[in-house]
Symmetry: C2
Subunit: 302 residues, 2 copies
């Protein structure tokens, strides 16, 4: 089952020619989930051939402009495309009011309904539970309500070892085996573990949006297959930054990855002050070796 | 005195990779005036080396997304740059509420004041009168409140023909001549017209934003040096467009230019359905020969 993310943008708030602010597409089994939506995200979706009508769920971490100002344009284009399917928006309270204010003055009624799922910035909440995935908010520490998102695969049906399967086993009993049950058949008990293969490990993706170094996330994202964590700065220049800045360094992102024992780390949200991003990678890898840079257009398997 | 416009974007609402929605920079004597501000206008300003702090006046024709969704990002970047000078915004009522709603949820207070000049969509109003220019709204016909903008040079001081200037003429009398007055000097009357050069003709730029064919604009823009007029469609495909569409064809734009006897016409706001823009140019030039396409990065003298 496909489970991958593609980077659409990874700069921080200051605009840069040829680069884009935060946005990622998560593809699970050809369903697209959009994570943050900075300015011109709709053009990035076009550039990398993601069809808008395959996106049914959009997650906005927080209401700083570089994370959501592309949403209204994308939503209006979906309207021009005569979308009918409901669009699920997951965002801090307030985005609903912003959207309604825009629509009020463009005299617009969208061609499709919006299902708005508001969350608070300070608590873990399960905000989605579909056939394959659950999504929880990950409270961040960013000065305004801000959450990351933890995507977890749901337990799958067990696979049966066909060589061990008794002939003529009725389908309801096969389904019971796939669901992990023991069964009675022809006066014998068949133990589930004797006839099913060990399940594939469940994969998970943790998207940690803008935050200062924040250890409370560690238990929640423990063992995630893939972690994205912002790294706006490096340690060297962080000293020159004013106190109270709500961002992380590459080393801090890597420390979170290390302490949470994740499989792999992607860092992004780079400040425009660094013309060469290799400094981020070198700094992070001193703490957590399997670290990669968020580069527009690149796809990472979860 | 510099008086020129640079095209930052000229597509219509549907996004296109590598192109941008409506925005133009008007440069008058090194003061920058921004006309409309579609998504990612701030990146276009960077691309063509326009410094944000040289922009003090932004004009928004109407509140369809492709004409203003880049404004909030630009304003937030000005804040990051610690701008202090007041920013004058000229827009239909409602943009003020949209901006305040955004700021409410980003918990932001901008580093600079905004002077918001609201206008109605149905009447001519002088909205700016500075040292060199006046600006009037041009009511359009677009289904929602929408205005173009007419930039007119103010009458300049006369130039004096130095060869004819009597020696030792006191400065106050020279200034009086420059202001068009006759003067008395050494018991003689000096007629203004005998000593001043004929004034340079006053230039004007008419920016006609989204509109269906709308002849009432003609008297107001009569004789403009340069006219921008939207041309979303060509005549051929316009037949296939639903009735009641609030846009113009290239031929209609050229007809307005012809009837208003303007010096030169620029057309833009091209629908994405035309891969080759030459059809617009050919169609417009059958009616009005000095027509040009709005191409990103190109500058036109007024």
């Amino acid at each position: 089952m496909t489970f991958e993310i593609t980077i659409l943008g990874a700069t921080s708030a200051t605009p840069v020619v040829g680069k884009h602010p935060t946005s990622q597409v998560l593809n699970y089994n050809d369903q697209l989930y959009l994570l943050d939506c900075g300015e011109a995200t709709q053009v990035q979706l076009l550039r990398y051939d993601f069809r808008f009508n395959r996106i049914n769920h959009i997650f906005i971490s927080h209401l700083h402009g570089d994370h959501y100002l592309g949403l209204m344009g994308l939503m209006l284009t979906m309207h021009l495309q005569k979308r009918e399917a409901a669009l699920h928006l997951y965002a801090p309270r307030g985005l609903d009011e912003i959207i309604l204010t825009h629509l009020k003055y463009s005299h617009g009624i969208l061609s499709y309904p919006i299902d708005f799922h508001a969350f608070e910035g300070n608590s873990v909440k399960q905000i989605l539970d579909d056939e394959y995935l659950t999504v929880q908010t990950i409270p961040m520490n960013h000065g305004i309500p801000c959450c990351g998102f933890l995507f977890k695969e749901k337990p799958k049906q067990l696979k049966i070892d066909k060589e061990k399967l008794p002939p003529n086993l009725p389908i309801p009993l096969i389904l019971a085996l796939k669901n992990g049950e023991d069964i009675f058949f022809e006066d014998k008990i068949i133990h589930n573990q004797d006839i099913t293969l060990p399940p594939e490990p469940l994969r998970s993706y943790a998207f940690c949006a803008d935050t200062k170094y924040h250890e409370p996330v560690i238990p929640q994202i423990q063992g995630a297959t893939l972690l994205y964590h912002e790294a706006t700065l490096t340690e060297e220049s962080a000293e020159r930054i004013e106190a109270g800045m709500y961002h992380s360094t590459a080393k801090q992102a890597a420390t979170i990855a290390h302490k949470a024992s994740v499989g792999k780390l992607i860092i992004g949200h780079f400040s425009v002050r660094y013309p060469n991003l290799d400094v981020f990678l070198r700094e992070a890898r001193t703490v957590f070796e399997p670290t990669f840079l968020a580069i527009e257009g690149e796809t990472h398997q979860v």
